[in-house]
Point group: C2
Chain length 106, copies 2
Amino acid sequence: MGWFTNVLSAASFRTDKLCKTNLFETERMFCDVYGFEPGQTQSGHVHEGSDKVYYVVQGEGAFSVGEEERTLGVGHAVFVPAGSVHAVRNVGAGRLVVLVIMAPKP
Amino acid sequence: MGWFTNVLSAASFRTDKLCKTNLFETERMFCDVYGFEPGQTQSGHVHEGSDKVYYVVQGEGAFSVGEEERTLGVGHAVFVPAGSVHAVRNVGAGRLVVLVIMAPKP
């Protein structure tokens, strides 16, 4: 991928699980776009040494960080500090597209 | 700022120059939202040891990285590897709002 990307166009989808597409990667950060069909999830997990940002590009997702969960639409960001359990679920009727940035690359 | 943020609502603006608002910061990354009134710019500059991602949340901007320049609207991302000259200019009629992530914090 080059330096300039249409994030929505770059998103891909699979019938069996969420689809991750890499947009940019160095030793300092990586940037993916995740495509979720309705009902698909990213299960709770932890990155011990990396921070993560989610930004909702399309659709509506339930995002949890630690004990907190919020349902968020386009224009919202979620910050996940290293060591926090976090998860995502597409709770909308349509597709969910999320820009994901982690630093450093785990 | 907490873990969950409405990026557009968090953006601020100034009459004299672009306005930077911090959303999240650790030693591994920081995340800002930049508000540009029409015509405002971020001049060309370089971060020798940090990568940057710009994501257009609202409006239309001219983004340059090295020798390349593109005019981009909502939904587009720009990746700036460490060591590359980069700049932004609000070329639209309205406000430009950009999500900015750098890793590590310079």
